[in-house]
Symmetry: C2
Subunit: 417 residues, 2 copies
Amino acid sequence: MASKHDTDVNNLLQRREVLGPAYRLFYDEPLTPVRGEDVWLTDAAGRRYLDAYNNVPVVGHCNPRVVAAMTEQAQTLCTHTRYLDQGVLDYADALLAHFPGCLNRLMLTCTGSEANDLALRMAQACTGGQGVVVTQNAYHGVTQLLAQLSPSLAPHGPAVRTIPPPHTDDNESVAAAAARWGAHVAAAFADMQAAGIRPAALLVDTVFASDGIFPPQPGLLDDGAAAARAAGALVIADEVQAGFGRLGGPWWGFAHAQLQADIVTMGKPMGNGYPMAGVVAQEAVVHEFAHTGRYFNTFGGNPVAAAVGMAVLRELEERQLPEQAAQVGAYWRQSWQKNAAALNHAPVRGLGLYWGVEARSGEHAARVVNHMRQNGVLINNSGPGGRILKIRPPLSFQTQHVDQLMTALLGAWDVSQ
Amino acid sequence: MASKHDTDVNNLLQRREVLGPAYRLFYDEPLTPVRGEDVWLTDAAGRRYLDAYNNVPVVGHCNPRVVAAMTEQAQTLCTHTRYLDQGVLDYADALLAHFPGCLNRLMLTCTGSEANDLALRMAQACTGGQGVVVTQNAYHGVTQLLAQLSPSLAPHGPAVRTIPPPHTDDNESVAAAAARWGAHVAAAFADMQAAGIRPAALLVDTVFASDGIFPPQPGLLDDGAAAARAAGALVIADEVQAGFGRLGGPWWGFAHAQLQADIVTMGKPMGNGYPMAGVVAQEAVVHEFAHTGRYFNTFGGNPVAAAVGMAVLRELEERQLPEQAAQVGAYWRQSWQKNAAALNHAPVRGLGLYWGVEARSGEHAARVVNHMRQNGVLINNSGPGGRILKIRPPLSFQTQHVDQLMTALLGAWDVSQ
């Protein structure tokens, strides 16, 4: 019988052989999970890992209610949106109830990339423009259009301008930081217009995840949004990372920021792993887009997606997981403060259950991540230079899981210097 | 209790209210299926409809083996391709076994749109070009890039040139038709180059579905492919419509055409309704693309997708559904010939279980489609002017289903003149 090591090496070789080199793996010693349950992943050797990284299984890995809803609907009917179906409408109603009244139309896709791509098509239809402002290290998806709007992946396209993420410097007021960021946005659109490019959108991930995690604060994005509107652009809140209660309490980053968005996109946790994503927009935006043509997404909004999405909503609502995320996030912050000295007072930023810790360097971050993986706790690193430890567990994460996470982090921090 | 009529009207109103006007419905009297089984859809009133239209449920609506595979894996583990997973590699091996040896790398997405978008990014990476040649009424997907390459949806983009679909005129040899089509392709690339646009790809749906259905013939695409290569472009076979045995016998349209493709894309039937799609390409193409950066699709190639995809492959293989499609398709052609006079010798084109019938006009086609729907058989119309009746049932369709389809078509043809 092949050893676990041999099995993993064979898997790696076969992977290179059939999937090719564009695919990347996590960790120096890649993980081979065979079982997921709530906040736990188990490998073939029976070793359990605490998952403090995966935001897709928002209501827990292999959530029984979600799997049951999926199975029951898949056994019954799975068609598409060109037939009438009550399930998708009930889901749309239930989801839109979590939005302010002006954001009242839902269009369904299968991935966050498709949602962002569609949102930009909408913004282009409404403005007649092509120009988009994004943050310096943004990531918005993998379509050709979005790759050009994702400087963290590749150099940005010709109709794109980049700005720093918004944040408050030490002792700076939110109003001052908002004005500073608003000036960046205004300058970016002015530069675009000077080059003859008509503005279409300001597109922001409301937790600025790939820029290093800068959680929303009330009013912080207001001046930037005003500058975008003054330039004739729409404001798109990309909630693929921040949405569905991830930040604790209010379900969306734009709600935490008290931002007026024209379009909101969402994805990852929406189906707890079932491929579904969506765009919520103002009625006028959807109507303007509809003038340019019909929209049909073969799998988007199918009856199984609707049933799965509804089960995820009900789990979030009934178990009050966004509220729990706020509490557990506060506990994590306290725990961090208690251990700040042992962690060299490294800067930490976050909200709810989305946290970033600035390591000393990208190399330090990578060593911490790999050390923690060897000790049974899964996180990762990202941000500029890979220097930010990224922590965003399933929302069913509890205080005892924070304790285990902190113990692993403390153990990894020094040996990884 | 609300009548069925009231329920449908309420559903329609609610749909407009929450999904908005970009969504369209089939049929003058929209259908509200509540149950799917093999080739049947059943509405709330218990009425059964023969599904002669939906190509996604390729191994039958709610196929029990596929649902069981999905459920079992979803109960066990659903992560992503940044961990090692044997299931996705086994699936890749099983799928690639259906391709010629030079097409030996698989990348997984969630939708055909994502697959075509990725294929074009690959072609752009390999050629340094942006220019794409497509057919006049092509449809390749809904991303911003693909909308520009889908003249059936919207006017094509500036780096796009269009050509007619290839076909043999009466008594014309395949070689003559191939040469004629090759000249169109060569002229399109020459025009593009004269405008300073560097060629990237010739992108063709190998059954030319939205152009009116022109099934592949051996050698018919050869001269066009040679012209594309002479211009420095890659050849992309879009198998989203034609693939997975739809045309009977060989699994792919490019195989029926004996076409050498650099990249092949697939989608709709791949997961029998579970959102999955993919790109199969030559090793050199994937390597060239990988130089431009990594690729990660959150849901693409997840363990549930792999399990579902494998169950679909096994159903197709073990039940020999592509072979059955060839036989049932031949039976349909015989049945058509027997009834040709009653159908005014209307032109019919197709292969396996993908058929197009030219109605007298778009209006005639729409009336036939609606009449058949009222008589319990589901087809649709598409192509230029909506004049082509489109017939592409699940591959489990059998001869008795052909008889029912033909009876409904005969009944609809004359009353719809």
